[in-house]
């Protein structure tokens, strides 16, 4: 291989390669293994100086209560296991600039008073928690009042068999913590997969959160956060979002959240947010919205849900554009007549209109709220008459002579074909030209 590097490029490349070692380069490395001079992680951590690296090489260590009180890199090689044997918290971080990487941490007992976790920090900055496996703990990662955090590529697996929700903590729990990156984690078997309370300016990407007893992701009072490319599957309910503004949720998948009061996404008192390119598949309710305003809900797929969207009358100025509604029992349901939201250019598989001028937009407006769905909202047991002759009759009469359904909940320009979100841009232009609308 003869590649003609310019000196400049070489220096730059070298700098980049050495960058991750920045902290390590100045400290020494303390090794922990069965035959090393350190046979316990705690010993080595205590003996280390600020900026050192503690390298744990294989083996099982029956330890808990490891306190990291200086800038340190704690790295596991060859899958070392720290087993707390249910004797309390495993790692407490009491310093800034700490990295914990490549360890398996297990067995932390339920403790209502201290909320014990595998890794815990309070009031710290610049922590990196990478590539760890956390098994059978009460809380997995518990951070409070901290900032500048990376939680990446960890697996957190709780034991939720025969346990009540109260005796289970959350896999990743953040409280008053800002500027966080949570990515590539696999969290399951806890109460909430990812719990954020008062967390600002953070990114949650590429995580898989499944089989949790309550929510896959749960956040409250957490403004200006971005959630993309996550999958929330088979949780008690998918995602609950409350009392928050400026949320960006894109390219997520919400699926298989079934149950009497279950939903893919619960929005309560959310403002000025964007929900785009998500998939809602096989949920009892795709999105349940209350008191949520100025949301842009665009280019999502709602497929085979019980209710695709339940939008309560307390929601104002929400826009639903270019979404696909396919195979849902009810497309949209609401609880009253007043309606101040905007539906435009969605594809509804239940639409039976026609397109005489061949502009790919139906010539007849579509009203997605059926009378029967209003009835079910008011009298839930009437759901047992679903697909009965009387119900169909009632719905069809109502379609011809609308008197109960909200008049303004209407898509004036329903699409004739399912929308392919990938070449969405072209399509939008076509639609705009056709509609003669100025760019909205």
């Amino acid at each position: 291989m003869m590649i003609n590097f310019s000196k400049h490029t070489f220096i730059l490349a070298a700098a980049f390669l050495l960058l991750p070692w920045g902290q390590v380069a100045f400290g020494s490395t303390l090794k922990v293994c069965q035959t090393c001079s350190y046979t316990s992680v705690k010993q080595a951590v205590q003996a280390a100086k600020p900026g050192d690296t503690v390298l744990v090489d294989g083996g099982v260590y029956q330890e808990s209560g490891i306190t990291i009180d200086k800038p340190l890199t704690l790295i596991g090689k060859n899958n070392p296991i720290i087993d707390g044997n249910f004797t309390g918290q495993l790692i407490s971080v009491e310093s800034d600039n700490v990295t914990v990487k490549g360890l398996t941490l297990k067995n932390v007992a339920t403790s209502y008073r201290q909320n014990d976790a595998a890794i815990r920090a309070k009031g710290r900055r610049n922590l990196r928690i990478l590539d760890n496996t956390i098994l059978k703990t009460f809380y997995g990662i518990y951070l409070e009042g901290s900032e500048g955090i990376v939680i990446k590529d960890n697996v957190v697996r709780g034991e939720n068999k025969d346990r009540t929700e109260s005796s289970l903590g959350n896999a990743i729990h953040l409280y008053y913590t800002d500027d966080v990156e949570i990515s590539g984690n696999d969290v399951q078997g806890h109460r909430d997969g990812i719990y954020l309370e008062v967390v600002k300016d953070s990114q949650v990407r590429n995580n898989l959160s499944h089989k949790n007893q309550r929510y896959g992701l749960h956040f409250m009072f957490s403004d200006r956060n971005v959630y993309t490319h996550n999958t929330f599957r088979s949780n008690g309910a998918g995602v609950a979002v409350m009392y928050t503004s400026n949320v960006q949720m894109e390219h997520n998948t919400f699926e298989d959240n079934w149950g009497a009061a279950s939903y893919g996404l619960l929005l309560k008192e959310i403002r000025d947010s964007v929900i785009r390119n998500n998939h809602f598949r096989r949920n009892t309710t795709g999105i349940h919205m209350e008191s949520s305003s100025r949301l842009d809900i665009k280019s999502n797929d709602f497929d085979r849900n019980g209710w695709a969207i339940k939008v309560m009358t307390t929601c104002l100025e929400d826009t639903f554009r270019l979404n696909n509604f396919t195979g849902n029992s009810f497309d949209v349901s609401t609880n009253g007549k007043s309606q101040h939201n905007h539906f435009e250019n969605n594809y509804w598989d239940k639409y039976s209109g026609y397109d005489l001028n061949k502009d790919k937009i139906g010539d007849v407006p579509y009203r997605p709220v059926s009378m029967y769905s209003m009835l079910v909202e008011r009298v839930p047991p009437s759901v047992m008459f679903m697909r009965s002759f009387m119900v169909d009759l009632m719905d069809n009469i109502e379609k011809v002579l609308p008197s109960f359904i909200p008049e303004n909940l209407v898509d004036e320009q329903p699409m004739m074909n399912k929308i392919n979100h990938d070449n969405n841009r072209e399509l939008t232009q076509v639609v705009r030209k056709a509609a003669g609308a100025e760019g909205r």
Binding site: E165, S166, Y175, E197, R214, A240, M242, A261
Partner: protein, 153 residues
């Protein structure tokens, strides 16, 4: 036939009798949704309950949600047969909200961000206040704090 009739009437009477008693019900943790915020009620140290004058129970995930519900609909609160919160020191035990002592302390985050912990026993509440800091409130002060969204920080 006679037997059938008597069995049916007995069942009917049973259903009728059990369905209408006005009394507190244990909170079905993990199954009920909070009547105020719609979240699943899971934490058995914080659950709350309102039983209306007809005996219908409403469940809440926290005292602050019960307080918010009552603050938004005062007539419901006044007519309620029971307003109940959980004694933090005895999970699953419901106590009357009006006689409970509430510790509002940042050291004890509650489910909905108001940091409220209900305790039955006054001495225990005072002791917890010494341990965790914060302030002690009674029910009316809690309702007021929720109205003003006063997180005490």
């Amino acid at each position: 036939m006679k037997l059938l009739k008597s069995v049916v009437s007995l069942l009917f009477i049973l259903v009728f009798l059990t369905g209408c008693s006005v009394e507190p019900r244990p909170i079905p943790y993990g199954e009920a949704n909070c009547a105020h915020c719609n979240m699943t009620v899971t934490d058995n140290r914080y659950g709350a309950e309102l039983v209306n004058d007809k005996g219908k129970p409403y469940y809440f995930d926290s005292a602050e949600c019960l307080a918010a519900y009552v603050a938004e609909q005062p007539e419901v609160g006044e007519k309620a047969a029971y307003l109940l919160v959980t004694d933090y020191l005895n999970p699953n035990e419901l106590i009357d909200a009006h006689s409970a002592h509430f510790l509002q302390s940042e050291a004890l985050p509650s489910p909905m961000g108001m940091n409220l912990t209900a305790v039955k026993d006054e001495a225990a509440a005072t002791q917890m206040q010494q341990e965790y800091g914060g302030q002690l409130l009674d029910w009316n002060q809690v309702v007021l704090a929720v109205k003003n969204d006063d997180k005490f920080q």
